[in-house]
């Protein structure tokens, strides 16, 4: 079946089996390998993308369900050659080591800051609680998100739109 999505602001389309999971559609059919694929059991959050502006474990959605929707992957975070503040924050605060969880963490952080530009440490920890990091002990990720909150430009630069529940 033909599946068309708007991904990082661009309309992309591929012919896939109905059973194709969104994470494989993004990585294998659209060649956007920034989205990682980890546990395959909906637990680790390495595969998180933004789906209509909300974090989604892309190993737990069919590509077919995503048809017609807006997706943002880590490749879509930097706009016009400028890193998103959350990306800069991860650099400033050493928010990653091996980087496997990083794309998902960045996107969840972006969605959190879009909804709540000044989150507390508790709110940050809650937001990322569905995503596993085995290097940082989370401390530097929390600092990185706080850095992004404190150093955000006046307007955010993502291509996503937020929708209701």
């Amino acid at each position: 079946m033909q599946v068309t999505v708007t991904i990082n602001g661009e309309e992309r389309s591929a012919d896939v089996e109905p059973r194709t999971l969104l994470v494989h559609f993004i990585r294998d059919d659209l060649d956007l390998t920034g989205t990682h694929w980890g546990c395959d059991t909906s637990n680790c959050g390495a595969c998180v993308v933004l789906f209509d502006g909300e974090p989604l474990k892309s190993c737990t959605m069919l590509a077919a369900t995503a048809a017609g929707h807006e997706i943002t992957t880590v490749e879509g975070l930097a706009a016009g050659g400028e890193l998103d503040p959350v990306q800069q924050g991860f650099i400033e605060c050493h928010g990653q080591q091996i980087g496997f969880c990083t794309p998902g963490m960045l996107l969840t952080a972006r969605a959190l800051l879009d909804a709540n530009p000044d989150p507390s440490e508790h709110e940050i920890r809650e937001a990322i609680s569905g995503q596993i990091c085995r290097c940082t002990g989370y401390s530097n990720i929390v600092k990185a998100v706080r850095w992004a909150a404190e150093n955000a430009p006046a307007t955010t630069t993502t291509t996503t739109t937020t929708t209701g529940a």
């Binding site: 059973r19 909906s42 998180v48 909300e54 974090p55 069919l62 569905g130 529940a165």
Partner: protein, 291 residues
């Protein structure tokens, strides 16, 4: 790489359309709601439906929380996140807010639906006990119209409900009472995990007496509600002694099994302690008029 077995796929455009597809395709068809139970099962090949009817497009039609006719009415496609963030839910059915805080994680809660949760009927699933304690009813629609079922009628046991092959769950209805309070207490091994054990209580008071208490446990092999505990509370003034007696009955009246989450003894201990805590909190909320 885990991928589901092949299937045919169609998106439902309305409840009516979903019901027609279910009828046309018989028992080989399955509804796909948030997909956060069904897709993991299909990836593990524990489920292999031949025809998948995607009801994600019905998230608008069936995604609502409204007060009507003395009830809180919740559409089947209402997502966990919407339940967690709802002021009406927090005000009238705090037990749902308590449970939603600890159901999975925020990312899963963006997708999972109340309809999917109740229809999956996983033994460790939280909302079945929550709805049972609240004496909720569910609306099940088929070709011949709607059936309104109580939770004991709806929830037949692990992974089994009264929803027929050509039917779907449409709405959950929670009765509202003037002086009532509710609470949910869950113990999990780590953030976002399924319950080791959990207990829900919904207490109604009148003139200093408990007129009715709904008690339901999660993940410990209990009935849909804990009848003996409920009976022990009805007509009694709320007190520590009454709560302790009811909690003891609830713990006796379940049959947990030893697994990687804990031993029978530990789970039974939790059943007692969590029932006690849920009763205390529910009653305090009722007394504050903070249902």
């Amino acid at each position: 790489m885990q991928v589901p077995a092949p299937f045919e796929y169609e998106r439902a455009t309305s409840v009516q359309h979903a019901l027609e597809l279910l009828r046309a395709r018989g028992p080989d068809a399955r509804l796909l709601a948030g997909g956060h139970s069904l897709l993991p099962m299909m990836k593990l090949r524990l489920a292999a439906p031949e025809f998948l009817i995607d009801i994600d497009p019905l998230a608008g039609e069936l995604g609502y929380i409204r007060e009507q006719d003395g009830e809180l009415r919740v559409g089947a496609m209402t997502r966990h996140r919407a339940l967690l963030e709802s002021d009406a839910v927090a005000r009238h059915a705090t037990i749902i807010t308590d449970a939603e805080r600890v159901i999975a994680d925020p990312v899963v809660r963006n997708r999972g639906t109340i309809g999917g949760a109740l229809c999956q009927a996983d033994p460790a699933e939280d909302l079945s006990a929550v709805c049972a304690a609240l004496e909720a009813t569910v609306v099940v629609r088929g070709a011949d119209g709607d059936r309104v079922l109580t939770m004991p009628e709806f929830h037949r046991g692990p992974y089994e409900t009264a929803v027929g092959d050509a039917e779907m769950l449409i709405e959950v209805r929670i009765p509202l009472h003037p002086v009532a309070g509710s609470a949910y207490e869950k113990v999990e091994r780590r953030v976002g995990d399924w319950a080791v054990a959990a207990a829900g209580a919904a207490v109604r008071l009148h003139a200093g007496v408990i007129t009715r208490a709904g008690i339901a446990l999660t993940a410990v092999g209990a009935g849909v509600t804990s009848g003996a505990a409920e009976q022990a509370l009805a007509g009694q003034p709320p007190s520590e002694a009454t709560f302790a007696a009811a909690a003891e009955l609830a713990a006796r009246d379940c049959s947990p099994t030893t697994d990687q989450r804990g031993s029978v003894e530990y789970k039974r201990h939790l059943a007692r302690e969590l029932t006690l805590r849920a009763l205390r909190t529910a009653t305090a909320r009722a007394l504050r008029g903070d249902a």
